[in-house]
Symmetry: C2
Subunit: 247 residues, 2 copies
Amino acid sequence: MSNFAGTLLGNDPVERFLHRLSLFEPLDAEARDAVRRSINRGPLIPPLQELQPDALQDVSVLLSGWICHFRLLGNGRRQITTLVVPGDFVDFGFLVGTVSSLQCVTTAHSQIGRIRTRAFGKLALQFPALLRASQRAAAVDAAIGRERIISLGVRTAAERLASILCELWFRLSAIGLTSAEGSYDLPMTQAELGAAVGLSTVHVNRTLQSLRRTGAISLQSGKVWIRDLEKLTALAGFDPAYLSLQA
Amino acid sequence: MSNFAGTLLGNDPVERFLHRLSLFEPLDAEARDAVRRSINRGPLIPPLQELQPDALQDVSVLLSGWICHFRLLGNGRRQITTLVVPGDFVDFGFLVGTVSSLQCVTTAHSQIGRIRTRAFGKLALQFPALLRASQRAAAVDAAIGRERIISLGVRTAAERLASILCELWFRLSAIGLTSAEGSYDLPMTQAELGAAVGLSTVHVNRTLQSLRRTGAISLQSGKVWIRDLEKLTALAGFDPAYLSLQA
DNA sequence: ACGGCTCATTAACCCAAGTTAGGGGCAAGC
DNA sequence: GCTTGCCCCTAACTTGGGTTAATGAGCCGT
């Protein structure tokens, strides 16, 4: 799967985005062209840069890099609520005409593509499939959120980490960002992973060690190798259906 | 606020639903009438009845009662992902044309109202405000989900329970289901509460005791009394903004 | 009135995960 | 070449919350 998407996509991030959208709802050549013309490629943003809310006025798409939505609590604790990978909308506020109040940070060099809200509105009228695809994307985002709730609520540390690694494997595969050898780049520190799965940095480390020892994965300098996907999904109790990548 | 909504609403559940929708987006008299005519009141469903997915083919609204979405894991652990209160859509699959795969149970005698998907589609075209209101409802549902992620990820047991009690206070106030004396019905056992906030039954009990001792709340036979809302929101670090009930 | 149920409650004990406190590798800047 | 600063990693200790188990209150249905 990753090979297929990888070779097919080349490495133009806008094409990746179109490919991702098409998985939600097929888009004809005309609609794709309209998107290509309407999208503005933003500047390269360095890692650990917080995005200002007004930067999300438009319809924003992550073209490359990595973004996390998070919330900082009074006591200094931080929870990452959403991981945005290339090809994803950064925020779905545009669907309901509100700007989200969530905080966003990049964790890697990132590039955002924008379509002016006004322009997107016109596209949505002209190409209903585009609107449907965006709405499906929002629905899948919600499904991912529910899955995170389940992880945080009833899964053990090992299950949570295995889950999120599985989830990312499938999400990144869909956009050709996994290698044929079974690896992908994960530009998050263990502390950030912990903030996403609700574990302390130390325990993330402990648990990753034990996942490595089972032979399901290995890690090296920001790269995750899925050594045994079967074992990993079994360990996590993971079922990729909620990502609706089959279409 | 509860008084206002309460007296204004009377107790017709369809009016409650319309009131709730209007908080998302104002609906004119014509749109309201169209909804009144299109909605079919279902039978009364007893507590602890699981809803079959096909029962959610249509646009389903909880008219009265209480519904939980949950997921059962292999090891017998259960996580409740969403609490549906009267006036809420039971599921948002209709917005994207998919039937959700989530399991649902009633925890109280409940009545569901349905609008045939086809009929809703026509209404949506005729009354764009109705569609926008539904989409906003979905967005708020997602925001509630994010808040749950934050609770499960970084809040202590006391904060989680305080949070959810605050959330319900505000949600129920908006539909006139809180009393002027500061109470509301919470038709969930402590075990179910635990499944919602990711705590064991025993620890829910312990923590509720301590919340009672602070004087912020009291509990009695399925009724929650908010004795000191200020204290409770402070304890939870709760900010009702995400529910967007101000409009 | 009597079992039998579910639910709230409490106590005693246990463990998964948090906390604190390092050590070591590596890259960036001086 | 040296410092500074992350980040990964590990060990030792602590703790919030889970587990087990038992009691009692209320609510049926007979």
